[in-house]
């Protein structure tokens, strides 16, 4: 995992709980106090340890930590740190998600060691089906957070549901329903 991911976790803990709590998390994860370098590649285990330590110190389930991290990644790290790149994704949630693989393909050239996930979207009847493929496991809650963040970023309202969990033969699948549309439909039905 690139250092920018670990640094974003640090950023999230510091901004939400303070430096002292971050130091506790860092020590519990057995991470040196030097801080992460965004462009350096770190072992995935460091990220797992950080999430586990944050869960322990903040006394929150790891899933919640990851979801909060996904949201933070979009709203702060992505939007502020990578704004020039983030903006290429588009100006709405559907375009952005549809363009994610295209984006990652281009980012891969700059970060050749990155093991980036793949996202494919299929429009179904009244909802989008998002398939998330990754060589890593356990990051599905983070995807929920990413989607939360995107909806917030584009000021859209989506109901997001993790409908299929990853197995050896199956990828994670999410269903996204546009709440406003749903609301409008409901209103129409009511009318």
């Amino acid at each position: 995992m690139y250092g920018m991911v670990n640094r974003a976790i640090e950023d999230l803990v510091v901004s939400s709980a303070g430096v002292e709590v971050w130091n506790e998390v860092r020590q519990a994860a057995d991470v040196e106090p030097d801080g992460f370098l965004d462009s350096a590649s770190y072992d995935d285990d460091v990220t797992y340890r950080l999430v586990a330590a944050a869960s322990k110190v903040l006394q929150q389930p790891a899933e919640d930590i990851l979801r909060a991290f996904g949201r933070h990644w979009i709203l702060y790290t992505g939007k502020e740190g990578w704004a020039s790149v983030f903006d290429l994704g588009g100006d709405n949630m559907v375009d952005f998600i549809n363009g994610l693989d295209n984006m990652h393909a281009r980012v891969q050239i700059a970060l050749p060691d990155a093991q980036m996930p793949q996202f494919s979207v299929v429009e179904c009847d009244g909802y989008l089906e998002l398939t998330y493929r990754s060589i890593r496991t356990g990051f599905a809650p983070m995807v929920l957070g990413l989607l939360d963040g995107l909806a917030e970023q584009f000021d859209e309202s989506w109901d997001i549901e993790h409908v299929v969990e990853k197995t050896e033969t199956q990828d994670d699948i999410f269903h996204l329903r546009n709440s406003k549309q749903t609301g409008q439909i409901d209103e129409a039905d009511a009318a």
Binding site: S39, S84, G99, R106
Partner: protein
């Protein structure tokens, strides 16, 4: 259809070239534009003339017309969009429908966000590297920021390392380099010396002669103040041309350059004068006195050898009395080396019991009878021959082997005495005992040795110097009492040279005194009167009195006339082995008669 013609559907053109536009050859009006370009053009682009939309930058020309385009079909064009100043780079192709097709991409600065043009990834063809440039640029920014962070970390580490180094190399109390720091800096000075032969370098090692006393009497706080002042004085006197270090305790070292050897001596004196001034604090004034071992450092020296030499000079200087400057020299080094070797041999000699007693006769002046001998330790150091007793006894003291030496001589003497007694020669023997041997255990040990040989204790006289008594009078008194209780006599040796304290004669249960050779040899009238008085005093106190150092007949006659009881000296007989003494007996008797 031309052989190089290619058929593309509008949909394909749209997908592959988001920044294309199609231009009618006849009316020079834009027919259609790609998705990306549409975002950049004004909404009424279709009603505007070509030169209202674009300005041609390359190839250089006056205007953008189909005619000019057709002249430069093989050229890259750069077009500037008039309303937004955005540049497009691309090429024109002629179509079968009497149109020209421009396919290109926008030219953006790498640091620009494409968002400012309202463009997103979907508006770029997959092979268009424009978005990649933006991403690469961002990543490059991140790498540069990381490089800056790394550099700051290294600087911080280096700074911490420097601080640690200073801490590790500096003595906290005095703020001068500690042993490690001095060693390091000294090595670098030596390195320079090697490339600059004519320079003279002095290394002085010193400590305070009375520092322990200051610490004990005035407390460690005062002691610390003294050390700080000591270091400050040294730093002041050597200034920037020298180096001061504290090796530990009150031991300091100085290394300083001089112009020549004469200057070296001057510098050494300056240093000593600086540190020998009294230490003053409020109402307290303490005299400071340092001993200093000094060495002129050669280019071949190492820090280890230079400090070792200075240490040896200081140590040896101290052995000869505290205070002052002691220079190290090659001769001095050799004498130190010789001494060290001799100490090793002496230790072996004592261990192997090869130090022998020689016996010097003592006669009764009234009868001229040979009454006994003084046993004197003699060491034959093999090829080097006989070693002077004052030398090897001093070395034995440094080695802490005086007790062993005393006992070796005592037992060998008693062995000889036992032999003499066995032959009916009932002599007495005088054996010297050093201060180190004066312990309660001496009483039992001597008594045991006598009993083992069935020698009557009255035939053994132990000789103690006044110096021995002064060192621990109470213990000496107890030991003499214990020896006397066992019938063993104790005499005061070298009487008249040291304290000549009458209180010792009065207070200690000594059986007699031995008058020092310096008194016997002085023929001055006053000296003779003193000698006479001492003999009279001894007679009055019923003390045995032995005069030593008789070298002339006149001395013998004088002593006999003043009724001195016993005498010994070269005139009577030189110390020798028991065999030699035996052979001399007849001559001795004749001489005394």
């Amino acid at each position: 259809m031309p052989h190089d013609a290619l058929t593309l559907s509008p949909h394909t053109v749209e997908a592959l070239f988001p920044f294309h536009f199609l231009l009618g050859c006849d009316d020079e009006q834009i027919v259609s534009v790609g998705l990306g370009l549409r975002e950049l053009l004004p909404e009424d682009y279709s009603s505007l003339a070509l030169d209202q939309l674009f300005e041609i930058i390359r190839p250089r020309n006056d205007g953008l017309t189909v005619s000019i385009i057709k002249q430069h079909l093989r050229c890259s064009f750069i077009l500037k969009m008039k309303q937004s100043n955005i540049m497009l780079r691309g090429q024109f192709l002629v179509t079968m429908e009497n149109t020209v097709l421009f396919i290109g991409s926008i030219v953006v600065s790498a640091s620009n966000s494409l968002d400012k043009y309202g463009l997103s990834l979907k508006m770029f063809a997959p092979f268009d590297l424009t978005p990649d440039i933006v991403i690469m640029h961002k990543f490059r920014e991140i790498e540069l920021a990381d490089r800056q962070k790394r550099s700051e970390r290294l600087s911080e580490m280096s700074r911490s390392h420097d601080e640690l180094n200073v801490h590790a190399n500096t003595d906290e109390l005095t703020n001068v380099p500690n042993r490690r720091g001095f060693w390091r800096k000294g090595e670098s000075v030596l390195k320079k010396l090697r490339g600059n032969e004519p320079a003279k370098l002095l290394l002085a090692l010193m400590d305070l002669d009375n520092f322990k006393l200051i610490n004990d009497h005035f407390g460690h706080e005062t002691g610390d103040d003294v050390l700080r002042e000591f270091a400050a004085r040294l730093a002041q006197v050597v200034g920037s041309k020298g180096l001061v270090g504290r090796l530990g305790g009150d031991e300091f070292v100085v290394m300083t350059e001089s112009i020549d050897r004469h200057d070296l001596h001057g510098t050494a004196i300056q240093i000593l004068n600086a540190v020998n001034r009294p230490f003053t604090r409020e109402n307290l004034q303490l005299p400071l006195r340092a001993s200093m071992g000094v060495v002129e450092v050669c280019a071949t020296d190492t820090m280890e050898s230079a400090i070792h030499h200075a240490d040896v000079a200081m140590y040896e200087g101290r052995a000869n009395g505290c205070g002052g400057i002691f220079w190290y020299s090659d001769e001095f080094s050799k004498s130190v080396q010789d001494k060290a070797e001799m100490m090793v041999r002496l230790e072996k000699a004592i261990e192997s019991n090869s130090i022998e007693p020689h016996f010097q006769p003592i006669i009764d002046l009234a009868t001229s009878d040979l009454v006994g001998f003084e046993a004197l330790a003699r060491w034959n150091d093999g090829e080097r021959g006989m070693v002077r007793p004052d030398i090897f006894i001093g070395l034995a003291e440094e080695l802490g082997l005086l007790i062993e030496l005393d006992m070796a001589i005592l037992t060998k003497t008693l062995d000889q005495l036992s032999l003499w007694h066995g032959h009916g020669k009932m002599y007495c023997v005088h054996v010297n005992v050093s201060a180190a041997s004066i312990q309660q255990t001496l009483i039992e040990r001597v008594s045991d040795e006598l009993q083992r040989r069935a020698i009557d204790p009255k035939h053994l006289i132990l000789e103690l110097t006044e110096t021995t008594i002064i060192e621990n009078t109470d213990l000496v008194r107890e030991v003499i009492k214990g020896l006397s209780a066992h019938g063993i006599k104790v005499q005061l040796d070298d009487f008249g040279t040291g304290y000549s304290s009458l209180s010792h004669i009065r207070d200690l249960p000594v059986s007699g005194i031995k008058i020092d050779r310096s008194f016997v040899g002085d023929t001055d009238g006053k000296a003779r009167k003193v000698l006479h008085s001492v003999v009279n005093m001894a007679l009055d106190l019923d003390l045995d009195i032995v005069a030593e150092g008789i070298e002339e007949e006149e001395q013998l006659v004088f002593l006999k006339n003043i009724r001195c009881k016993y005498a010994q000296g070269f005139y009577i007989g030189k110390p020798g082995t028991a065999d030699v003494c035996e052979q001399l007996f007849p001559q001795l008797i004749k001489l005394a008669a």
